[in-house]
Protein backbone atom coordinates (compact mmCIF):
# COMPACT_ATOMS: atom_id res chain seq x y z
CA UNK A 1 0.00 0.00 0.00
CA UNK A 2 2.80 2.38 0.85
CA UNK A 3 4.32 1.81 -2.54
CA UNK A 4 1.04 2.63 -4.24
CA UNK A 5 0.72 5.76 -2.17
CA UNK A 6 4.20 6.97 -2.96
CA UNK A 7 3.71 6.40 -6.69
CA UNK A 8 0.42 8.23 -6.60
CA UNK A 9 1.94 11.10 -4.67
CA UNK A 10 4.24 11.78 -7.63
CA UNK A 11 1.47 11.89 -10.16
CA UNK A 12 0.08 15.28 -10.62
CA UNK A 13 -2.75 14.26 -12.92
CA UNK A 14 -4.16 11.35 -14.88
CA UNK A 15 -5.74 12.40 -18.15
CA UNK A 16 -7.62 10.47 -20.78
CA UNK A 17 -6.73 11.37 -24.37
CA UNK A 18 -9.11 10.13 -27.01
CA UNK A 19 -6.95 9.10 -29.98
CA UNK A 20 -9.29 11.04 -32.25
CA UNK A 21 -8.27 14.19 -30.41
CA UNK A 22 -4.54 13.45 -30.50
CA UNK A 23 -3.88 15.17 -33.84
CA UNK A 24 -5.70 18.35 -32.94
CA UNK A 25 -3.98 18.40 -29.54
CA UNK A 26 -0.56 18.10 -31.17
CA UNK A 27 -1.58 20.85 -33.58
CA UNK A 28 -2.47 23.08 -30.63
CA UNK A 29 0.98 22.52 -29.17
CA UNK A 30 2.72 23.97 -32.19
CA UNK A 31 1.86 27.52 -31.17
CA UNK A 32 3.91 27.11 -27.98
CA UNK A 33 6.34 24.28 -28.61
CA UNK A 34 8.84 23.13 -31.20
CA UNK A 35 7.94 19.48 -31.55
CA UNK A 36 10.25 16.51 -31.99
CA UNK A 37 9.10 12.96 -32.51
CA UNK A 38 9.73 9.65 -34.23
CA UNK A 39 9.51 9.89 -38.02
CA UNK A 40 9.66 6.91 -40.35
CA UNK A 41 12.52 7.04 -42.84
CA UNK A 42 12.96 4.13 -45.22
CA UNK A 43 13.02 1.10 -42.95
CA UNK A 44 13.49 2.71 -39.55
CA UNK A 45 12.44 5.55 -37.30
CA UNK A 46 14.46 8.49 -36.08
CA UNK A 47 13.61 11.49 -33.93
CA UNK A 48 13.32 14.66 -35.97
CA UNK A 49 11.84 18.07 -35.54
CA UNK A 50 8.30 17.67 -36.84
CA UNK A 51 7.24 19.74 -39.80
CA UNK A 52 4.07 21.75 -39.65
CA UNK A 53 1.13 19.38 -39.66
CA UNK A 54 3.35 16.34 -39.22
CA UNK A 55 2.44 13.91 -36.45
CA UNK A 56 4.93 11.74 -34.59
CA UNK A 57 4.65 8.16 -35.82
CA UNK A 58 3.99 6.42 -32.54
CA UNK A 59 3.77 2.94 -34.07
CA UNK A 60 7.47 2.28 -33.71
CA UNK A 61 9.63 -0.14 -31.78
CA UNK A 62 12.89 1.60 -31.18
CA UNK A 63 14.33 4.50 -33.14
CA UNK A 64 17.56 3.77 -35.02
CA UNK A 65 19.42 6.59 -33.30
CA UNK A 66 18.36 7.55 -29.81
CA UNK A 67 16.43 10.82 -29.32
CA UNK A 68 19.41 12.30 -27.47
CA UNK A 69 19.87 14.57 -30.49
CA UNK A 70 16.85 16.63 -29.36
CA UNK A 71 19.03 18.08 -26.60
CA UNK A 72 22.47 17.06 -27.88
CA UNK A 73 22.70 17.53 -31.66
CA UNK A 74 25.36 15.59 -33.60
CA UNK A 75 26.83 18.93 -34.62
CA UNK A 76 26.17 22.23 -32.92
CA UNK A 77 27.60 25.70 -33.55
CA UNK A 78 28.92 27.31 -30.36
CA UNK A 79 30.64 30.48 -31.57
CA UNK A 80 31.40 32.38 -34.71
CA UNK A 81 34.51 34.46 -35.27
CA UNK A 82 36.37 36.50 -37.85
CA UNK A 83 40.03 36.06 -38.73
CA UNK A 84 40.04 39.24 -40.82
CA UNK A 85 42.30 41.70 -39.03
CA UNK A 86 40.56 44.56 -40.78
CA UNK A 87 37.49 43.60 -38.83
CA UNK A 88 37.28 45.42 -35.50
CA UNK A 89 36.25 42.31 -33.57
CA UNK A 90 38.58 39.87 -35.25
CA UNK A 91 39.61 36.79 -33.23
CA UNK A 92 36.77 37.37 -30.78
CA UNK A 93 34.31 34.55 -30.17
CA UNK A 94 30.68 35.53 -30.58
CA UNK A 95 27.91 33.44 -29.09
CA UNK A 96 25.68 31.78 -31.63
CA UNK A 97 22.10 32.74 -31.03
CA UNK A 98 20.12 29.66 -30.03
CA UNK A 99 16.47 28.86 -29.96
CA UNK A 100 15.74 27.67 -26.46
CA UNK A 101 12.04 28.35 -26.70
CA UNK A 102 9.89 25.54 -25.27
CA UNK A 103 10.21 22.28 -27.12
CA UNK A 104 8.69 18.88 -26.57
CA UNK A 105 9.82 15.41 -27.48
CA UNK A 106 6.69 13.39 -28.20
CA UNK A 107 6.77 9.62 -27.95
CA UNK A 108 10.19 9.14 -26.37
CA UNK A 109 10.57 5.65 -24.95
CA UNK A 110 11.02 5.33 -21.16
CA UNK A 111 14.54 3.90 -21.60
CA UNK A 112 15.61 6.90 -23.64
CA UNK A 113 14.09 9.29 -21.11
CA UNK A 114 15.97 7.62 -18.29
CA UNK A 115 19.09 7.97 -20.41
CA UNK A 116 18.57 11.73 -20.50
CA UNK A 117 18.54 11.82 -16.71
CA UNK A 118 21.76 9.78 -16.61
CA UNK A 119 23.42 12.10 -19.10
CA UNK A 120 22.34 15.06 -17.01
CA UNK A 121 24.64 13.83 -14.23
CA UNK A 122 27.50 14.64 -16.54
CA UNK A 123 26.29 17.97 -17.88
CA UNK A 124 24.84 19.41 -14.67
CA UNK A 125 27.33 19.05 -11.82
CA UNK A 126 28.26 21.12 -8.80
CA UNK A 127 31.35 22.33 -10.61
CA UNK A 128 29.98 22.87 -14.07
CA UNK A 129 26.74 23.42 -15.89
CA UNK A 130 27.01 22.75 -19.61
CA UNK A 131 25.03 25.66 -21.05
CA UNK A 132 24.16 24.09 -24.41
CA UNK A 133 22.91 20.78 -23.10
CA UNK A 134 21.23 22.23 -20.01
CA UNK A 135 19.50 25.11 -21.79
CA UNK A 136 18.10 22.65 -24.32
CA UNK A 137 17.16 20.21 -21.57
CA UNK A 138 15.38 22.83 -19.50
CA UNK A 139 13.44 23.99 -22.55
CA UNK A 140 12.24 20.46 -23.23
CA UNK A 141 9.14 18.62 -22.06
CA UNK A 142 9.53 14.87 -22.41
CA UNK A 143 6.34 13.07 -23.33
CA UNK A 144 7.01 9.37 -23.06
CA UNK A 145 5.29 6.45 -24.68
CA UNK A 146 5.16 3.25 -22.65
CA UNK A 147 6.48 0.20 -24.48
CA UNK A 148 3.85 -2.49 -24.95
CA UNK A 149 5.92 -4.52 -27.39
CA UNK A 150 9.60 -4.39 -26.46
CA UNK A 151 12.16 -5.60 -29.03
CA UNK A 152 13.90 -8.94 -28.60
CA UNK A 153 17.11 -7.07 -27.78
CA UNK A 154 15.58 -4.93 -25.03
CA UNK A 155 16.88 -5.56 -21.52
CA UNK A 156 15.67 -2.43 -19.73
CA UNK A 157 14.15 -4.32 -16.79
CA UNK A 158 17.63 -5.28 -15.59
CA UNK A 159 19.09 -1.78 -15.84
CA UNK A 160 16.92 -0.11 -13.22
CA UNK A 161 14.52 1.01 -15.92
CA UNK A 162 11.59 -0.69 -17.63
CA UNK A 163 9.02 -0.37 -20.41
CA UNK A 164 6.79 1.81 -18.21
CA UNK A 165 9.56 3.61 -16.31
CA UNK A 166 8.75 7.23 -15.48
CA UNK A 167 12.23 8.49 -14.69
CA UNK A 168 13.12 11.53 -16.75
CA UNK A 169 9.61 11.92 -18.13
CA UNK A 170 7.19 14.80 -17.75
CA UNK A 171 4.28 12.83 -19.15
CA UNK A 172 3.87 9.10 -19.67
CA UNK A 173 1.42 8.00 -22.33
CA UNK A 174 0.03 4.49 -22.09
CA UNK A 175 -1.85 3.21 -25.10
CA UNK A 176 -5.25 1.87 -24.09
CA UNK A 177 -7.47 0.91 -27.00
CA UNK A 178 -8.84 4.05 -28.58
CA UNK A 179 -7.22 6.30 -26.02
CA UNK A 180 -4.00 7.17 -24.30
CA UNK A 181 -3.88 7.22 -20.55
CA UNK A 182 -1.62 10.17 -19.85
CA UNK A 183 0.14 10.55 -16.53
CA UNK A 184 1.31 14.11 -16.13
CA UNK A 185 4.28 13.56 -13.83
CA UNK A 186 5.63 17.08 -13.46
CA UNK A 187 4.41 20.65 -13.63
CA UNK A 188 6.03 20.87 -17.08
CA UNK A 189 4.01 17.88 -18.16
CA UNK A 190 0.78 19.32 -16.83
CA UNK A 191 1.42 22.54 -18.67
CA UNK A 192 1.89 20.69 -21.94
CA UNK A 193 -1.31 18.71 -21.42
CA UNK A 194 -3.13 22.00 -20.83
CA UNK A 195 -1.64 23.56 -23.94
CA UNK A 196 -2.79 20.58 -25.98
CA UNK A 197 -6.26 20.89 -24.54
CA UNK A 198 -6.08 17.42 -23.00
CA UNK A 199 -8.15 17.94 -19.88
CA UNK A 200 -10.46 14.95 -19.50
CA UNK A 201 -9.76 13.27 -16.19
CA UNK A 202 -8.62 9.71 -16.69
CA UNK A 203 -8.23 6.52 -14.78
CA UNK A 204 -4.87 4.82 -14.45
CA UNK A 205 -6.16 1.53 -13.05
CA UNK A 206 -5.47 -0.28 -16.35
CA UNK A 207 -1.78 0.61 -16.27
CA UNK A 208 -0.55 -1.89 -13.69
CA UNK A 209 -1.65 -4.92 -15.73
CA UNK A 210 -0.26 -3.46 -18.95
CA UNK A 211 3.03 -2.73 -17.24
CA UNK A 212 3.29 -6.26 -15.88
CA UNK A 213 2.48 -7.70 -19.32
CA UNK A 214 5.13 -5.57 -21.04
CA UNK A 215 7.75 -6.40 -18.43
CA UNK A 216 7.00 -10.10 -18.81
CA UNK A 217 7.81 -9.83 -22.52
CA UNK A 218 11.37 -8.79 -21.75
CA UNK A 219 13.35 -11.97 -21.42
CA UNK A 220 16.84 -10.61 -22.07
CA UNK A 221 18.84 -9.24 -19.18
CA UNK A 222 22.21 -7.87 -18.21
CA UNK A 223 24.15 -9.23 -15.24
CA UNK A 224 25.59 -6.46 -13.12
CA UNK A 225 24.99 -7.52 -9.51
CA UNK A 226 28.65 -8.10 -8.61
CA UNK A 227 30.14 -5.19 -10.53
CA UNK A 228 30.12 -2.72 -7.65
CA UNK A 229 32.19 -5.00 -5.43
CA UNK A 230 34.90 -5.49 -8.05
CA UNK A 231 38.18 -3.63 -7.77
CA UNK A 232 38.55 -1.29 -10.73
CA UNK A 233 42.11 -2.32 -11.51
CA UNK A 234 41.24 -6.02 -11.30
CA UNK A 235 38.69 -5.54 -14.06
CA UNK A 236 41.01 -3.23 -15.98
CA UNK A 237 43.78 -5.83 -15.95
CA UNK A 238 41.47 -8.82 -16.40
CA UNK A 239 42.52 -11.16 -19.21
CA UNK A 240 39.07 -10.86 -20.80
CA UNK A 241 39.65 -7.84 -23.02
CA UNK A 242 41.65 -9.44 -25.85
CA UNK A 243 38.80 -11.79 -26.61
CA UNK A 244 36.08 -9.15 -26.13
CA UNK A 245 37.80 -6.62 -28.36
CA UNK A 246 39.06 -8.96 -31.10
CA UNK A 247 36.13 -8.52 -33.46
CA UNK A 248 35.67 -4.78 -32.81
CA UNK A 249 36.33 -2.70 -35.93
CA UNK A 250 36.40 0.54 -33.92
CA UNK A 251 33.55 2.22 -35.74
CA UNK A 252 31.30 4.62 -33.86
CA UNK A 253 28.06 2.70 -34.36
CA UNK A 254 27.56 1.83 -30.68
CA UNK A 255 28.49 5.23 -29.33
CA UNK A 256 26.40 7.20 -31.81
CA UNK A 257 23.33 4.99 -31.37
CA UNK A 258 23.67 4.95 -27.57
CA UNK A 259 21.34 7.24 -25.62
CA UNK A 260 23.82 7.56 -22.75
CA UNK A 261 26.98 8.35 -24.72
CA UNK A 262 27.69 12.02 -24.30
CA UNK A 263 31.23 12.63 -25.52
CA UNK A 264 31.91 15.47 -27.89
CA UNK A 265 34.76 17.11 -29.72
CA UNK A 266 35.24 20.83 -30.31
CA UNK A 267 36.38 21.87 -33.77
CA UNK A 268 37.02 25.19 -35.47
CA UNK A 269 35.73 25.19 -39.01
CA UNK A 270 37.18 28.00 -41.06
CA UNK A 271 36.08 29.17 -44.46
CA UNK A 272 38.17 32.00 -45.79
CA UNK A 273 38.50 34.55 -43.02
CA UNK A 274 35.51 33.53 -40.99
CA UNK A 275 34.86 30.51 -38.89
CA UNK A 276 32.52 28.62 -36.62
CA UNK A 277 33.45 26.76 -33.46
CA UNK A 278 31.46 23.54 -33.53
CA UNK A 279 30.89 20.79 -31.09
CA UNK A 280 30.32 17.39 -32.61
CA UNK A 281 29.57 13.96 -31.23
CA UNK A 282 32.78 12.10 -30.63
CA UNK A 283 33.47 8.47 -29.89
CA UNK A 284 35.92 6.75 -27.56
CA UNK A 285 36.17 4.03 -30.20
CA UNK A 286 38.40 6.16 -32.43
CA UNK A 287 42.16 6.62 -31.95
CA UNK A 288 41.76 10.36 -32.52
CA UNK A 289 39.57 10.65 -29.42
CA UNK A 290 42.56 10.44 -27.11
CA UNK A 291 45.30 11.72 -29.42
CA UNK A 292 47.41 14.26 -27.50
CA UNK A 293 48.85 17.38 -29.07
CA UNK A 294 52.27 15.80 -28.52
CA UNK A 295 51.35 12.92 -30.79
CA UNK A 296 51.24 10.50 -27.86
CA UNK A 297 48.09 8.41 -27.68
CA UNK A 298 47.31 6.76 -24.35
CA UNK A 299 44.67 4.59 -26.03
CA UNK A 300 46.41 3.74 -29.26
CA UNK A 301 45.26 0.10 -29.19
CA UNK A 302 41.81 -1.22 -29.99
CA UNK A 303 41.71 -3.24 -26.78
CA UNK A 304 42.24 -0.10 -24.70
CA UNK A 305 39.40 1.68 -26.44
CA UNK A 306 36.93 -1.19 -26.17
CA UNK A 307 37.82 -1.61 -22.51
CA UNK A 308 37.25 2.10 -21.93
CA UNK A 309 33.75 1.99 -23.36
CA UNK A 310 32.61 -0.91 -21.23
CA UNK A 311 34.50 0.13 -18.09
CA UNK A 312 32.94 3.60 -18.34
CA UNK A 313 29.43 2.28 -18.76
CA UNK A 314 29.58 -0.61 -16.33
CA UNK A 315 32.16 0.31 -13.70
CA UNK A 316 33.47 3.89 -13.61
CA UNK A 317 29.99 5.44 -13.81
CA UNK A 318 28.60 2.93 -11.35
CA UNK A 319 31.34 3.67 -8.80
CA UNK A 320 31.28 7.43 -9.31
CA UNK A 321 27.56 8.10 -9.01
CA UNK A 322 26.24 4.99 -7.20
CA UNK A 323 23.17 5.19 -9.44
CA UNK A 324 23.58 1.98 -11.38
CA UNK A 325 25.20 1.43 -14.74
CA UNK A 326 25.34 3.92 -17.60
CA UNK A 327 23.13 1.76 -19.78
CA UNK A 328 19.35 1.72 -19.97
CA UNK A 329 19.01 -1.51 -21.92
CA UNK A 330 17.63 -0.05 -25.15
CA UNK A 331 19.55 -2.71 -27.09
CA UNK A 332 20.58 -0.43 -29.97
CA UNK A 333 24.28 -1.32 -29.72
CA UNK A 334 23.35 -5.01 -29.66
CA UNK A 335 21.16 -4.64 -32.74
CA UNK A 336 23.50 -2.44 -34.73
CA UNK A 337 27.05 -3.56 -33.96
CA UNK A 338 28.46 -4.75 -37.30
CA UNK A 339 30.37 -7.56 -35.58
CA UNK A 340 27.91 -8.46 -32.81
CA UNK A 341 29.77 -7.26 -29.73
CA UNK A 342 27.09 -7.52 -27.07
CA UNK A 343 27.20 -5.44 -23.90
CA UNK A 344 25.28 -8.18 -22.08
CA UNK A 345 27.99 -10.71 -22.82
CA UNK A 346 30.69 -8.24 -21.82
CA UNK A 347 28.93 -7.35 -18.59
CA UNK A 348 28.59 -11.04 -17.73
CA UNK A 349 32.30 -11.55 -18.28
CA UNK A 350 33.08 -8.59 -16.03
CA UNK A 351 30.49 -9.64 -13.45
CA UNK A 352 31.82 -13.21 -13.33
CA UNK A 353 35.47 -12.25 -13.29
CA UNK A 354 37.38 -13.16 -10.15
CA UNK A 355 40.93 -11.92 -9.95
CA UNK A 356 43.52 -14.53 -9.14
CA UNK A 357 44.68 -13.95 -5.58
Amino acid sequence: MNETLSIRANIMKVINIDKEKWASGVESLTSTYRLFGPVKEDDSHNFKELKKGELPDLAYGNSKLSPKSAVFPPSEAMFTYSLDEKNENHHILNDVKKDYSPRAVLGIRPCDAKAVSLVRMNFDTKEYRDPYWMDAFEATTFVGLACDNPCSTCFCTSTGCGPFSEEGLDVLLVENGNAYIAKALTAKGEKLMDAAGFKTAGDDSAIAAKKAAAEAKITASIETDKLSEKVIMDLYDAPIWDDISFSCINCCTCTYACPTCWCFDIQDENKGLSGVRMRNWDSCMTPLFTMHGSGHNPRSQKKQRVRQRFMHKLKYFLDKYQKGIMCVGCGRCVQQCPVNIDIRTVSKKMNDYVAAS
Binding site: E41, D42, D43, S44, K64, L65, P74, S75, S152, T153, D243, F246, S247, I249, N250, C251, C252, T253, Y256, A257, D265, Q267, E269, M278, N280, S283, T286, P287, L288, M291, V334, Q335, Q336, C337, P338, V339, N340, I341, D342, R344, T345
Partner: protein, 282 residues
Protein backbone atom coordinates in the same frame (compact mmCIF):
# COMPACT_ATOMS: atom_id res chain seq x y z
CA UNK B 1 26.60 -26.07 -43.29
CA UNK B 2 26.95 -28.68 -40.56
CA UNK B 3 29.53 -30.55 -42.63
CA UNK B 4 31.43 -27.29 -43.09
CA UNK B 5 31.40 -26.63 -39.35
CA UNK B 6 32.65 -30.10 -38.51
CA UNK B 7 35.45 -29.73 -41.01
CA UNK B 8 36.38 -26.21 -39.84
CA UNK B 9 36.63 -27.48 -36.26
CA UNK B 10 38.57 -30.56 -37.28
CA UNK B 11 41.16 -28.64 -39.31
CA UNK B 12 41.45 -25.92 -36.66
CA UNK B 13 41.98 -28.42 -33.87
CA UNK B 14 44.67 -30.22 -35.84
CA UNK B 15 46.52 -27.01 -36.73
CA UNK B 16 46.47 -25.72 -33.16
CA UNK B 17 47.49 -29.07 -31.67
CA UNK B 18 50.39 -29.70 -34.04
CA UNK B 19 51.57 -26.10 -33.72
CA UNK B 20 51.17 -25.23 -37.41
CA UNK B 21 49.43 -22.02 -36.33
CA UNK B 22 49.16 -19.99 -33.14
CA UNK B 23 45.54 -19.05 -33.69
CA UNK B 24 42.55 -19.54 -35.95
CA UNK B 25 40.44 -16.63 -37.14
CA UNK B 26 36.84 -17.65 -37.73
CA UNK B 27 33.31 -16.99 -36.54
CA UNK B 28 31.52 -17.92 -33.34
CA UNK B 29 27.83 -18.03 -32.50
CA UNK B 30 26.23 -14.59 -32.33
CA UNK B 31 23.90 -13.34 -29.61
CA UNK B 32 21.19 -12.24 -32.02
CA UNK B 33 19.67 -14.45 -34.73
CA UNK B 34 21.12 -12.56 -37.70
CA UNK B 35 24.70 -12.26 -36.53
CA UNK B 36 27.83 -14.33 -36.08
CA UNK B 37 30.86 -12.82 -34.40
CA UNK B 38 34.40 -12.86 -35.78
CA UNK B 39 36.71 -14.47 -33.23
CA UNK B 40 40.23 -15.68 -32.72
CA UNK B 41 40.67 -19.15 -31.27
CA UNK B 42 44.01 -19.84 -29.60
CA UNK B 43 43.41 -23.08 -27.69
CA UNK B 44 42.40 -26.33 -29.34
CA UNK B 45 39.82 -26.81 -26.55
CA UNK B 46 38.00 -23.74 -27.84
CA UNK B 47 37.51 -24.85 -31.46
CA UNK B 48 34.06 -26.03 -30.35
CA UNK B 49 33.04 -22.35 -30.45
CA UNK B 50 33.61 -22.07 -34.21
CA UNK B 51 30.53 -21.88 -36.42
CA UNK B 52 29.71 -21.34 -40.06
CA UNK B 53 26.37 -20.03 -41.27
CA UNK B 54 24.85 -17.47 -43.61
CA UNK B 55 25.64 -14.67 -41.15
CA UNK B 56 29.41 -14.89 -41.63
CA UNK B 57 29.25 -11.86 -43.87
CA UNK B 58 32.06 -9.78 -42.40
CA UNK B 59 35.31 -10.19 -44.36
CA UNK B 60 37.79 -11.86 -42.01
CA UNK B 61 40.80 -10.71 -44.04
CA UNK B 62 40.27 -7.43 -42.18
CA UNK B 63 41.72 -9.09 -39.07
CA UNK B 64 44.98 -10.13 -40.75
CA UNK B 65 46.49 -6.71 -41.32
CA UNK B 66 50.10 -6.49 -40.11
CA UNK B 67 49.85 -9.59 -37.91
CA UNK B 68 53.13 -11.35 -37.33
CA UNK B 69 52.15 -14.76 -36.00
CA UNK B 70 51.25 -17.89 -37.92
CA UNK B 71 47.52 -17.94 -38.42
CA UNK B 72 44.78 -20.02 -39.88
CA UNK B 73 41.85 -18.16 -41.37
CA UNK B 74 38.46 -19.33 -42.50
CA UNK B 75 37.96 -17.79 -45.93
CA UNK B 76 35.07 -17.77 -48.35
CA UNK B 77 35.62 -16.66 -51.97
CA UNK B 78 35.68 -12.92 -51.35
CA UNK B 79 37.78 -13.21 -48.19
CA UNK B 80 40.34 -15.23 -50.15
CA UNK B 81 40.53 -12.55 -52.86
CA UNK B 82 41.20 -9.93 -50.22
CA UNK B 83 43.87 -12.19 -48.74
CA UNK B 84 45.51 -12.21 -52.18
CA UNK B 85 45.39 -8.41 -52.23
CA UNK B 86 46.76 -8.29 -48.68
CA UNK B 87 49.69 -10.50 -49.68
CA UNK B 88 50.42 -8.36 -52.77
CA UNK B 89 50.32 -5.24 -50.61
CA UNK B 90 52.60 -6.74 -47.94
CA UNK B 91 49.99 -6.67 -45.19
CA UNK B 92 50.50 -10.36 -44.48
CA UNK B 93 52.84 -13.06 -45.79
CA UNK B 94 51.58 -16.14 -47.59
CA UNK B 95 53.76 -18.44 -45.50
CA UNK B 96 52.23 -17.10 -42.30
CA UNK B 97 48.84 -18.33 -43.35
CA UNK B 98 46.93 -21.55 -43.43
CA UNK B 99 43.83 -20.72 -45.44
CA UNK B 100 40.81 -22.86 -44.62
CA UNK B 101 38.79 -22.40 -47.80
CA UNK B 102 35.01 -22.30 -47.65
CA UNK B 103 33.09 -22.72 -50.92
CA UNK B 104 30.27 -20.25 -50.40
CA UNK B 105 26.71 -20.03 -51.66
CA UNK B 106 26.20 -16.54 -50.38
CA UNK B 107 25.48 -14.75 -47.16
CA UNK B 108 22.10 -13.50 -45.97
CA UNK B 109 21.25 -9.84 -45.70
CA UNK B 110 21.17 -8.98 -41.99
CA UNK B 111 17.92 -7.02 -42.38
CA UNK B 112 15.89 -9.02 -44.87
CA UNK B 113 17.28 -12.50 -44.34
CA UNK B 114 17.44 -12.87 -48.13
CA UNK B 115 20.58 -13.41 -50.18
CA UNK B 116 22.89 -10.42 -49.81
CA UNK B 117 22.90 -8.15 -52.85
CA UNK B 118 26.57 -8.66 -53.70
CA UNK B 119 26.30 -12.44 -53.24
CA UNK B 120 23.53 -12.53 -55.85
CA UNK B 121 25.97 -11.40 -58.52
CA UNK B 122 29.13 -13.02 -57.15
CA UNK B 123 31.20 -14.95 -59.69
CA UNK B 124 33.91 -16.14 -57.29
CA UNK B 125 32.17 -18.13 -54.63
CA UNK B 126 35.02 -20.57 -54.35
CA UNK B 127 38.20 -19.50 -52.61
CA UNK B 128 40.89 -18.56 -55.15
CA UNK B 129 43.68 -19.44 -52.74
CA UNK B 130 43.56 -22.02 -49.94
CA UNK B 131 45.47 -24.74 -48.16
CA UNK B 132 42.53 -26.99 -47.43
CA UNK B 133 38.87 -26.91 -48.40
CA UNK B 134 36.01 -27.68 -46.02
CA UNK B 135 33.82 -29.07 -48.78
CA UNK B 136 33.49 -29.61 -52.52
CA UNK B 137 33.81 -26.59 -54.76
CA UNK B 138 30.45 -25.06 -55.65
CA UNK B 139 29.29 -24.12 -59.10
CA UNK B 140 30.13 -20.55 -60.00
CA UNK B 141 27.39 -18.20 -61.16
CA UNK B 142 27.95 -17.10 -64.74
CA UNK B 143 24.76 -15.62 -66.06
CA UNK B 144 24.64 -12.57 -63.80
CA UNK B 145 24.61 -8.87 -64.56
CA UNK B 146 26.97 -7.54 -61.92
CA UNK B 147 26.50 -3.91 -62.76
CA UNK B 148 22.79 -3.46 -63.47
CA UNK B 149 22.40 -0.90 -60.68
CA UNK B 150 25.58 0.94 -61.66
CA UNK B 151 24.33 1.25 -65.22
CA UNK B 152 21.15 2.84 -63.93
CA UNK B 153 23.15 5.52 -62.15
CA UNK B 154 25.41 6.01 -65.17
CA UNK B 155 22.33 6.73 -67.28
CA UNK B 156 21.25 9.60 -65.03
CA UNK B 157 21.84 13.23 -65.94
CA UNK B 158 24.37 15.23 -63.91
CA UNK B 159 21.64 16.82 -61.82
CA UNK B 160 19.98 13.50 -61.22
CA UNK B 161 23.31 11.97 -60.18
CA UNK B 162 23.89 14.85 -57.80
CA UNK B 163 20.52 14.25 -56.19
CA UNK B 164 21.03 10.51 -56.18
CA UNK B 165 24.28 10.73 -54.22
CA UNK B 166 22.93 13.44 -51.94
CA UNK B 167 20.06 11.15 -51.01
CA UNK B 168 22.29 8.10 -50.80
CA UNK B 169 24.48 9.55 -48.07
CA UNK B 170 21.89 11.71 -46.33
CA UNK B 171 21.54 9.43 -43.30
CA UNK B 172 25.28 8.89 -42.85
CA UNK B 173 26.46 9.56 -39.29
CA UNK B 174 30.10 9.08 -40.25
CA UNK B 175 30.53 6.21 -37.84
CA UNK B 176 33.07 4.90 -40.38
CA UNK B 177 31.81 1.33 -40.05
CA UNK B 178 32.06 0.96 -43.86
CA UNK B 179 35.71 1.94 -43.79
CA UNK B 180 36.57 -0.07 -40.72
CA UNK B 181 34.89 -3.24 -41.94
CA UNK B 182 36.91 -3.07 -45.17
CA UNK B 183 40.13 -5.08 -45.43
CA UNK B 184 41.45 -2.52 -47.93
CA UNK B 185 41.24 0.35 -45.44
CA UNK B 186 44.36 -0.19 -43.40
CA UNK B 187 46.08 3.22 -43.62
CA UNK B 188 47.79 3.93 -40.27
CA UNK B 189 45.87 7.21 -40.25
CA UNK B 190 42.93 7.61 -42.60
CA UNK B 191 42.75 10.99 -44.36
CA UNK B 192 39.56 11.83 -42.47
CA UNK B 193 41.41 11.31 -39.19
CA UNK B 194 44.39 13.50 -40.10
CA UNK B 195 44.57 16.31 -37.57
CA UNK B 196 47.88 17.99 -38.38
CA UNK B 197 46.66 19.55 -40.58
CA UNK B 198 43.06 18.48 -40.69
CA UNK B 199 41.85 17.54 -44.17
CA UNK B 200 38.15 17.10 -43.71
CA UNK B 201 35.63 18.87 -41.46
CA UNK B 202 34.07 16.83 -38.68
CA UNK B 203 30.64 18.44 -38.46
CA UNK B 204 27.54 17.13 -40.20
CA UNK B 205 28.26 19.06 -43.38
CA UNK B 206 27.05 17.14 -46.44
CA UNK B 207 30.14 18.10 -48.45
CA UNK B 208 32.46 16.62 -45.82
CA UNK B 209 30.37 13.47 -45.63
CA UNK B 210 30.45 13.01 -49.39
CA UNK B 211 34.16 13.77 -49.49
CA UNK B 212 34.72 10.91 -47.09
CA UNK B 213 32.63 8.48 -49.14
CA UNK B 214 34.08 9.46 -52.50
CA UNK B 215 37.68 9.27 -51.36
CA UNK B 216 37.12 6.02 -49.54
CA UNK B 217 35.72 4.51 -52.72
CA UNK B 218 38.57 5.79 -54.88
CA UNK B 219 41.12 4.30 -52.51
CA UNK B 220 39.48 0.95 -53.21
CA UNK B 221 39.57 1.23 -57.01
CA UNK B 222 41.06 -1.90 -58.55
CA UNK B 223 41.32 -3.52 -55.13
CA UNK B 224 37.68 -3.95 -54.14
CA UNK B 225 36.33 -7.51 -54.38
CA UNK B 226 32.72 -6.46 -53.73
CA UNK B 227 32.71 -8.61 -50.60
CA UNK B 228 29.91 -6.43 -49.21
CA UNK B 229 31.40 -6.02 -45.74
CA UNK B 230 31.02 -2.24 -45.95
CA UNK B 231 27.33 -2.41 -46.75
CA UNK B 232 26.68 -5.17 -44.21
CA UNK B 233 28.41 -3.09 -41.53
CA UNK B 234 26.51 0.14 -42.18
CA UNK B 235 24.06 0.67 -39.32
CA UNK B 236 22.06 3.08 -41.48
CA UNK B 237 21.70 0.58 -44.34
CA UNK B 238 23.27 2.97 -46.84
CA UNK B 239 24.03 1.34 -50.18
CA UNK B 240 27.70 2.26 -49.97
CA UNK B 241 28.63 -0.26 -52.67
CA UNK B 242 27.07 1.98 -55.33
CA UNK B 243 30.35 3.86 -55.54
CA UNK B 244 32.83 0.99 -55.17
CA UNK B 245 30.96 -1.06 -57.76
CA UNK B 246 31.21 1.71 -60.31
CA UNK B 247 34.98 1.68 -59.84
CA UNK B 248 35.03 -2.10 -60.03
CA UNK B 249 33.16 -1.84 -63.32
CA UNK B 250 35.58 0.79 -64.63
CA UNK B 251 38.56 -1.39 -63.75
CA UNK B 252 36.94 -4.29 -65.48
CA UNK B 253 36.19 -2.29 -68.65
CA UNK B 254 39.40 -0.25 -68.81
CA UNK B 255 41.91 -2.85 -67.69
CA UNK B 256 40.11 -6.19 -67.91
CA UNK B 257 40.87 -6.46 -64.22
CA UNK B 258 39.24 -8.29 -61.36
CA UNK B 259 40.83 -7.82 -57.97
CA UNK B 260 42.39 -10.57 -55.91
CA UNK B 261 42.51 -13.40 -58.44
CA UNK B 262 46.25 -13.77 -58.76
CA UNK B 263 49.36 -13.19 -56.68
CA UNK B 264 51.36 -12.56 -59.85
CA UNK B 265 49.94 -9.24 -60.95
CA UNK B 266 49.53 -5.94 -59.14
CA UNK B 267 46.25 -3.97 -59.34
CA UNK B 268 46.07 -1.59 -62.33
CA UNK B 269 46.27 1.64 -60.35
CA UNK B 270 49.24 0.28 -58.45
CA UNK B 271 51.44 -0.32 -61.46
CA UNK B 272 52.91 1.29 -64.57
CA UNK B 273 53.39 0.04 -68.10
CA UNK B 274 55.58 1.71 -70.71
CA UNK B 275 52.97 1.07 -73.36
CA UNK B 276 50.25 2.87 -71.39
CA UNK B 277 47.79 4.33 -73.86
CA UNK B 278 47.55 7.66 -72.01
CA UNK B 279 50.19 10.24 -72.96
CA UNK B 280 50.17 12.17 -69.72
CA UNK B 281 51.78 9.37 -67.77
CA UNK B 282 54.73 8.82 -70.13
Amino acid sequence: MDAYITKIKEISERLLKDGTVEAVIGFRQGTVPTMSEPCMIKRSDDVKDLVWDSNCRINLCNYLTNRKEKLAIVAKGCDSRNIVTHIIENKIKRDQLFIIGVPCKGMNDKNTGELQDNCGTCTHRNPVIYDELVGDLVEEQTDVDKYADVKKVEALSSDEKWNFFNDLYSSCTRCHACRNACPLCYCPTCFVDESKPQWVGKADDAVDIRTYHFLRAYHCAGRCTDCGSCEAACPQNIKVRQMTKKLEKDCSELYGWEAGLTLDERPPLDTFKVDDREDFIK
